[in-house]
Structure formats: C-alpha cells, structure tokens
C-alpha cells in the first residue's frame, strides 16, 4: 500500500518533470528563433553585404581616406569621452553612495537625464547653446572657439550621451557595499586619497570595468546626438556611424556595410569581453557580493 502510494507519487512527479521539460524546450526554441531573427540574421547580413564583392573590395573600402578618417575620429572621441566619464561616474557614484546630502536625489535624476532624453534632442540642445545663433555662440565666435560642427562638439555630445553608463553601474554596487570598509580605513589612519585607491577602487573594479565596456561601445556607436552637432564634413567631422549613413545614402552599399561590420565587430568584442569577465572572475565577483 505504502509502496503503491510512493510509486504513483513518483510517476506524478516524473510527469510533472517531463511536462516542464517540454515547456522548457519550447520556450528555448522560441527564444533562439527570436534571437536569430532579430539579432543574428542582421549581423550575418552585415558581414554578407560587406564581403559581397570579395575580401579585396572589403579592405579597400576600409582603407579609403574618408573611412580611415572616420575610424580615427571615432577612436579619438572614445579615448576622450570614456576616461572623462569614468572619472565623472566614479566621483558622482562615490558622492551618492558614501555621503548623505540634500541634493542627492537631484543628482541621481541629473545623471539619468541622458537616458531619458532622445540623443537627437541632446545634440540640438548643444547646438542651441553653443551654435552661432546659440546663447554662447557670439562669445565663442569672438574668442575663436569652434565647438559646433567641429570635433569638440562631437566629444561633448558623446560625453553627455554616455554619461550614465559608469555611474549607473557603480551606484548600486557602492551602495550595497556601504561605507564600513572606508570607515575602518579612516580609523586606521589612511588618507582619503589612499582609501579611494586601496579600498574603494579594488572593491568596484568589476563593476567599473563593465561600465567602461558599455560606455565605450556606446561612445563609438552613438549616432543621434553626434549627427546633429557634427555637420557631416567628410574626412573631418564624420564618425564611423555617420560615415556609414553617408555611404548608404550614396548607394555605396558594400562600403557602408564594410564600415558597419567594424561596429558590429566592436559589439561582438564587447559581448565577448563581458562574457569573459563574468566567466573568469565569477568566483571573485560572487565573493564580493557575499561579503
């Protein structure tokens, strides 16, 4: 009797398991299908189009003067914008997570603005502020400073758009870690500078690295804001995304996709780096979270 009950219970359990297996399989298949349709297929198309006239044509399109200028500019912008935002983001998160002050929620809202405003609008605001007809336009012109339709404007717009990535990554992390370790360090006689480098930074390095990855990917790929402030001067103020657009509008599909393939590659590298981070340091990261 007892055995019979047990067996029927086991059977019921195994049916429940096989049912969830079945559902799991279906859901997985659905997920893979959607992923393939919306992510992998376009990716494959990018590379397919890029190599449609052979590898020689592909590399020729990349070493074209304008393309090279666009790549250089994109790298330059990222090299300036990412470190700036790492510093801003780290300082802002440090203030928000480790101190109590009145304007705290205001600061958090400000940091989020670039996420909630369309990048095109952000670009327009820069034009309204610093353009020839803008608020500071005449003053800038008198002092011979050209921001809009020039490289500094592009850097500014990119810094603005990518501002939240590092801060957003760090604030929750630092808040969850609290201030006890820093307090312990103060009591032991360490200076603020020392505490920042020997206690705070090592504790946030993974989050920071992840934020840098995301920030960099966005800085190189930004289109909207940069498009408004750039002025699209070939070889001078064109970043890679803008160059892709120009080529595309000129029906030079192959070249457009060739440049686009570099951006796609960047995305893949970012993903791989992130996966690598999680895989390589998952134990340490988990240990950090546990403490």
């Amino acid at each position: 009797m007892a055995i019979a009950v047990e067996i029927s219970a086991a059977r019921r359990r195994s049916r429940a398991v096989s049912e969830t297996l079945w559902v799991k399989g279906l859901l997985t298949a659905l997920g893979v299908a959607i992923l393939g349709l919306f992510l992998l297929l376009p990716l494959a198309t990018v590379f397919g189009e890029a190599f449609s006239k052979g590898a020689d044509a592909y590399f020729a399109a990349l070493v074209d003067d304008d393309a090279l200028a666009a790549i250089r500019l994109t790298l330059l912008v990222a090299v300036i914008a990412v470190p700036l935002n790492v510093v801003f983001g780290a300082v802002a998160s440090w203030c928000i997570a480790k101190f109590d002050f009145r304007a705290k929620s205001l600061l958090i809202t400000l940091i989020d603005i670039p996420f909630s405003v369309s990048p095109v609008i952000s670009g327009l605001i820069y034009v309204l502020l610093f353009g020839l007809q803008g608020w500071f336009g005449p003053w800038l012109r008198d002092h011979d400073i050209k921001l809009i339709f020039a490289v500094p404007g592009i850097v500014l717009a990119t810094v603005f758009v990518t501002f939240p990535f590092v801060a957003r990554e760090l604030i929750p992390l630092m808040e969850s870690q609290g201030t006890e370790e820093e307090e312990a360090a103060v009591v032991l006689g360490a200076s603020g500078w020392r505490i920042f480098w020997t206690v705070t930074v090592p504790n946030i390095k993974w989050g920071l690295l992840y934020g840098v990855l995301l920030c960099n990917a966005r800085a190189m790929g930004e289109f909207g804001a940069v498009s408004v402030v750039s002025g699209h001067v070939r070889g001078v103020t064109n970043t890679m995304p803008l160059h892709v657009e120009i080529l595309y509008n000129e029906y030079n599909y192959m070249a457009a996709f060739a440049v686009a393939s570099l951006l796609a590659l960047l995305a893949l590298v970012t993903l791989a780096a992130k996966a690598l981070l999680v895989w390589r340091f998952s134990r340490e990261i988990a240990a950090d979270a546990r403490q």
Partner: protein, 369 residues
C-alpha cells in the same frame, strides 16, 4: 582617559543621544549595554570620531578631542560586521594601519611582517595569513578585525557588538579570550552589547543605556544587585514586576504585605514591586512566613527549578533548587507559602513620565528589605 560630557546627538528630529556623560578610566574594560536603538553604536562612533556630537564634548587624556577626526584619534575600532577589506589577504588587512603611515613613522617591511605575524599568532590565526576574508569563518574574521585594530597600538579599543554574529559556543569562548587579552595588554576598552550575560561577565563596569540616555553606570555586581531604575531591573535578568499599593510605609502586593519604611511619608499610592525569582522563598504551610500562593506550573531547567505561582490575581515566577523542590514535593495545585527575601518598590507616577529627575528621586526613596 576618555571623558564624554553632556553629549547630545540628533538625527533629523530624533534624539539618538540625550545628554550622555561618561568617564572611562585608563585600562578599564567598559560595556555599553542596552536594547536595540538605545544609542550604543552612536555613542561608540562618537568616541571613535566617526560621528560628531551636536553638543557636548569628548576628552581624551584631558585634551579636547571632540572635533579631532577619526584618522587622528588613534583608536582601534572593531565593527559589528567586521568590515574587513574584502580584496586583501588577512596579512594585508592587519598590515594596513602600519602601511598607510607617513614614510617617517612607517616601520620597515620586515618589521611590519614581524608585527603582523606576532598579532596573528596572538589571535590564534597563524597559517591563515594568505587567506581572503571570504575564506574565513565568522569567529576567524572577528579575530582578524581585532588584530587589525590592535596593529596600530591604539590608545583605546572600541568594539561594536564584537560577538553579535557568532553562535553561542564561539561567543562564550571569544569573550573569555577577549577578557584575557585585555588583562594582558592592559588596553582601555569599550564594547557594545545587548547581551547582559556578556556585559556582566566581561566588563569591569557596565553602562546601561535606554532611549539615548544612561540609566545606570556601575560594576556588574552593582548593576545586578542594586538596579537604579525600573528599566535596569527589567533589562537585567529575570524579574517579577508586580503592581502594588504603597500605604504608610507598607507595600501590599495582593495579600502579601511587606515593609517599605522609606515610603513612610506616602499615604496611598500605586507602585510597582520588583522581585527576582531567586529571591522568592517557598515553604510548606506552617513552616515559614509569607502569603499563600498556588503552584500553577513547575519546570525543571538543569540545576534550577522554575515555579509559576498565582498570588491573588498576580502570576509570579520563582526559582528554587532541585533539592528544595524535592523537599516541598511541588506540584500544580499545591498551596505554598511565599516570602520575598528582598524586593524593591518604585512609585507608579515616577517612572511612567520618565524624566531623569524623577528617576533619581525614586532611587533614593526606594526601599530594600
């Protein structure tokens, strides 16, 4: 050594510390004891310079240290959750306080290593120097935190619930060990706890706190035997708090009448009598004095026997020895005579509106039998 004078600290409109004054002598080990939220941590952090009082002052060795930052106070602080540097090894954790010194004062690498290893062997952690905090047990982390705090040879050691997060067995061991360590190093120490047993066992003096005020300061014996306020009575150890009437030098607890000579001037007032369970004497009818009570429940707890009795409408808890229990053959329903060896009375009005003045008044007028 440490002198806190009229310290007041508010968070928003909430007074976490209300006019707290405390004097700690050189080499003393003091416990701050009180319920959750009574301001123990806040006081400790103010002593350590991690928090600054709104008014009042803190003196170290007679010099005003109220506004001296934690960095320059030279105290050892052990945090409730240890706050070990999670990305540093045990060795680096303990060495931190020495490594961050200015070049002039910093010991050489070899000296630092020697000192760290000495400290680690003192806290019985030799061999674990290269582990990370996440690879240690709670008790081991606790000892690393202690070694780290001691590494800078602090003037004072401040510990916030040092054994709070450990299980009972480890706790007991560690607190004896802390006491021994303290006796060896002769360092002035202040530790926070909400465990009365811990406070009474380890400390030279106990500071009982409640709602941001100090209720009583005294040696463990004083605190336990002569609680100054109803709060201390109830917080320390088991106690029966029985409503009573106080009339012309006598206290009436139901049918039980006890002398209360220091209330001779009180014509008729509501009061509360505090009686410890082990101060209640039980005897057979005809053998002793007191009032009749009825046994409701008897439970044998190791060496002692806890007896629940009803006296009039009051329920009273008494504690007696196993031997006495056998002699009396205590059983539910049985009538026994009950007599308190000692009791203490407080007037009802006095402590419901608890102001410091009325409390001092009460302490003076209360009666010991």
């Amino acid at each position: 050594m440490i002198d806190a004078r009229n310290v007041r600290k508010t968070f928003g409109s909430f007074a976490a510390l209300n006019d707290v004054s405390l004097n700690i002598a050189e080499g003393e080990l003091v416990a701050l004891l009180g319920p959750s939220g009574s301001g123990k941590t806040t006081l400790l952090r103010i002593l350590g310079g991690l928090e600054f009082p709104d008014s009042g002052s803190v003196l170290f060795d007679g010099g005003d240290a109220t506004l001296v930052s934690a960095r320059d106070r030279h105290v050892g602080f052990v945090f409730q959750h240890y706050a070990l540097f999670r990305h540093m090894t045990v060795f680096d954790n303990v060495a931190f306080g020495l490594k961050v010194r200015s070049r002039k004062e910093r010991p050489s690498k070899a000296e630092i290593a020697e000192r760290v290893h000495h400290l680690l062997s003192m806290v019985q952690l030799d061999g674990l120097a290269l582990r990370y905090p996440s690879q240690l047990s709670g008790g081991q982390r606790q000892r690393v935190a202690l070694a780290r705090a001691l590494a800078i040879q602090p003037r004072v050691l401040l510990l916030d619930e040092p054994f709070g997060a450990l299980d009972a067995q480890v706790r007991k061991e560690l607190r004896r060990w802390l006491r021994r360590l303290h006796d060896e190093l002769k360092i002035t120490g202040v530790f926070v706890t909400h465990d009365q047993e811990e406070a009474l066992e380890v400390a030279d003096r106990v500071v009982v706190m409640n709602q941001g005020r100090i209720e009583q300061i005294g040696t463990p014996t004083e605190i336990y035997d002569q609680p100054a306020t109803p709060f201390v009575y109830q917080f320390l150890g088991n106690v029966n708090a029985l409503p009573c009437r106080i009339r012309g030098g006598q206290a009436e607890i139901g049918p039980l009448v006890m002398p209360a000579p220091s209330y001779a001037g009180v014509a008729d007032a509501a009061g509360v009598a505090f009686v410890r369970p082990h101060d209640l004497l039980l005897s057979r009818p005809g053998e002793g004095g007191g009032s009749f009570a009825v046994v409701r429940h008897v439970s044998v707890l190791g060496a002692v026997v806890r007896v629940e009795l009803s006296l009039g409408e009051h329920i009273i808890e008494a504690e007696t020895s196993r031997q006495r229990h056998a002699e009396l053959e205590l059983a539910p329903g049985q009538r026994v005579l009950l007599w308190p060896r000692q009791a203490r009375f407080f007037l009802r009005d006095g402590w419901e509106g608890t102001t410091l003045e009325s409390r001092e008044e009460l302490a003076r007028t209360s009666a010991m039998l």
